[in-house]
């Protein structure tokens, strides 16, 4: 058995869940009147908190909020269909030169100047970068709206 009095932390833990404290702590608590009294204080406190009246609004929240709700922009099936068509069209446009040249890709690269390829690569990277930045900004705006920042 522990001869010293139990720490405040262990007293709280014992009152919340006696099975979580070490056996020596439980043994001490059974035999020490001072620590037993501290356990009683916390038991009273927790009972008291549980008995406190719960807060409630004295107005009808739904009646207050519903008229203020913004109109939802419906994510219609037309929008989804539009995006799908746009993706297919873009894929078609990108693959069109390859189809026209009957997949003679190697020849195509040989005929294009390295400067042009470099320029296209830089533009592609810039485009991806700007798109990612825009996505990040939109995400931050959403987070700010929720006050998570």
């Amino acid at each position: 058995m522990i001869s010293q009095h139990i720490s405040e932390e262990d007293i709280q833990l014992y009152v919340l869940d006696a099975s979580k404290v070490k056996e020596e702590v439980a043994q001490h608590l059974e035999q020490c009147p001072a620590c037993k009294a501290r356990v009683k204080e916390y038991e009273m406190l927790f009972t008291g908190i549980g008995s406190l009246p719960k807060a409630s609004f004295d107005f009808d929240v739904a009646a207050l909020v519903l008229p203020q709700l913004p109109e939802k922009k419906k994510a219609s099936s037309y929008k989804i269909a539009g995006i799908t068509i746009a993706v297919i069209a873009a894929a078609g446009l990108i693959s069109l030169p390859f189809i026209l040249l009957q997949f003679r890709v190697n020849e195509l690269w040989e005929n294009i100047s390295p400067w042009l390829i470099g320029l296209a690569a830089v533009m592609a990277v810039a485009f991806i970068g700007i798109s990612l930045w825009e996505m990040y900004e939109r995400y931050r705006q959403q987070i700010r709206k929720l006050n998570f920042e």
């Binding site: 405040e8 932390e9 709280q12 204080e41 916390y42 009273m44 406190l45 927790f46 009972t47 008291g48 908190i49 549980g50 008995s51 406190l52 009246p53 719960k54 807060a55 409630s56 609004f57 107005f59 929240v61 739904a62 207050l64 909020v65 519903l66 203020q68 709700l69 913004p70 939802k72 419906k74 994510a75 959403q142 709206k145 929720l146 006050n147 998570f148």
Partner: protein, 199 residues
């Protein structure tokens, strides 16, 4: 027309209905969560006149961001998260979240009236009479808004440390540590009051 929540996943069902434009489903969400939101708003917002605007703000945020809710947590937990963040933002704006606020009690605070214990809690009433509840209520008001909210969520709403961590964005260890300090402060405050009464 009331929206039935008798469904396998009532949260998802209600959210889908709201996203399809059913505002009555949103009224059901409000009815299901307003008690919890009230508990948090009352603990965090001392000025009664600001609570109405805040609760309106909270539910409009919930409605506007519902499309982004991914059902990774319960809907009530997500709404509590928005409530907590909105209240923290309010406290910052009003400069009520200053260091040392823990030990101050604002004169403007609108302390919730302590009602008589209900009949079902007769044993509690014997242990903790009305007068003691008033002292405890006053001791609660002396805690910081964050500590007060954590105590309420843990002891009154019976939430786990993990759940409270999700709502507040605090690590579980910090939640435990704040709760430990809050309980200790409450106990010491109560003991001090009893001693004063005895003298």
């Amino acid at each position: 027309m009331s929206v039935s929540t008798n469904h396998r996943n009532p949260d998802k069902y209600l959210v889908d209905r709201v996203l399809n434009g059913d505002k009555q489903a949103f009224a059901t969400i409000i009815h299901n969560t307003e008690a919890l939101v009230a508990q948090m708003v009352f603990r965090m917002v001392p000025r009664a006149e600001d609570r109405k605007d805040l609760v309106q703000d909270i539910y409009i945020k919930v409605y506007s961001n519902l499309q982004g809710f991914r059902h990774q947590a319960r809907l009530s937990t997500w709404i509590c998260q928005i409530t907590y963040n909105t209240c923290i933002s309010y406290l910052r704006k009003k400069q009520l979240l200053l260091p040392g606020y823990d030990n101050e009690s604002s004169d403007e605070e609108d302390i919730m009236p302590v009602q008589g214990p209900v009949a079902a809690d007769e044993s509690d009433a014997q242990l903790f009479n009305k007068e003691r509840l008033m002292i405890l209520q006053a001791a609660m008001e002396k805690l910081s808004p964050i500590h007060r909210t954590l105590v309420t969520l843990y002891h009154q709403e019976e939430m786990s440390y993990q759940e409270i961590g999700v709502i507040t964005g605090l690590p579980e260890g910090t939640v435990k540590s704040y709760l430990f300090r809050a309980r200790k402060a409450l106990k010491e405050n109560l003991l001090l009051n009893y001693k004063k009464e005895e003298l």
